[in-house]
């Protein structure tokens, strides 16, 4: 119990700081690498919630594939590697105000709704149940996701190839 809270505190601190660096770093490659830290932290949070299959998928798909795509995107758009001063636009202050107000509303409503509701994952080793659930209860959404991925694949090729 104490250990879980300790790990949660460590993960949350690292993730929060890294997420702030993702949106403030003046070096695009550093932003992508801080994004890796945040995504790994999310995988750790999934482990804390006893969702090990989601954690492994997070590492495989996000850190393995999405971040590589981002790095390729940065290279192909010839974003300047190194410090650049103009990665933020002139709405920075307004954006920060909006984000802080949104955070206040979200935190207030969450604490109002759930207070100190205890969350103790009842089961560990839920991968089998997740598989059963996907292939029985959520079979049709699962098949639709496969069609969506095919459409995204074809669409990305059509968009990105040279005429």
């Amino acid at each position: 119990m104490i250990v879980q809270n300790l790990f949660f505190g460590m993960l949350a601190t690292v993730m929060g700081l890294a997420a702030i660096r993702v949106v403030t770093a003046q070096n695009v490659v550093h932003a992508a690498l801080y994004l890796v830290v945040v995504l790994g932290g999310v995988a750790g949070i999934f482990i804390l919630l006893a969702a090990e299959f989601a954690a492994v998928t997070q590492v495989l798909v996000y850190i393995g594939a999405v971040v590589v795509l981002f790095l390729f995107g940065l290279m192909l758009t010839r974003a300047p590697i190194g410090k650049t001063a103009n990665l933020d636009n002139d709405q920075k202050v307004l954006a920060a105000v909006v984000a802080v107000m949104l955070l206040g509303v979200l935190l207030w409503s969450q604490f109002d709704a759930f207070g100190r509701a205890i969350l103790e994952p009842q089961r560990v080793g839920t991968t089998g149940m997740v598989g059963d659930s996907i292939f029985v209860q959520y079979l049709i959404p699962f098949e639709i996701i496969s069609v969506l991925l095919l459409a995204a694949l074809v669409g990305a090729i059509v968009l990105a190839r040279k005429e």
Partner: protein, 99 residues
Amino acid sequence: MILNQFLALAAVLFCIGVYGVLARRNAVLVLMSIELILNAVNINLVAFGAFHDTVAGQVFALFVIAVAAAEVGVGLAIVLLIYRNRQSVDVSELDMMKG
């Protein structure tokens, strides 16, 4: 652990992502901020799934991960196309549809 610590972490990530979408100039960095937002939603889904003792939250988180992967693929293809046409990925210059 209490439910609210996960919800609060997700809210913080979500708001940082919103700030990034609003304040960033480079389209690839905007897409990265969108990933932050999607991850905040995933934390919420898995936390509520554990709270209600069901695996549906995890299943939906997996669906969100798949949709996010598709979104990044198509989004980066669009960004590449914009770069090829305009030699820039600055989203504040993309005002062709403004009347």
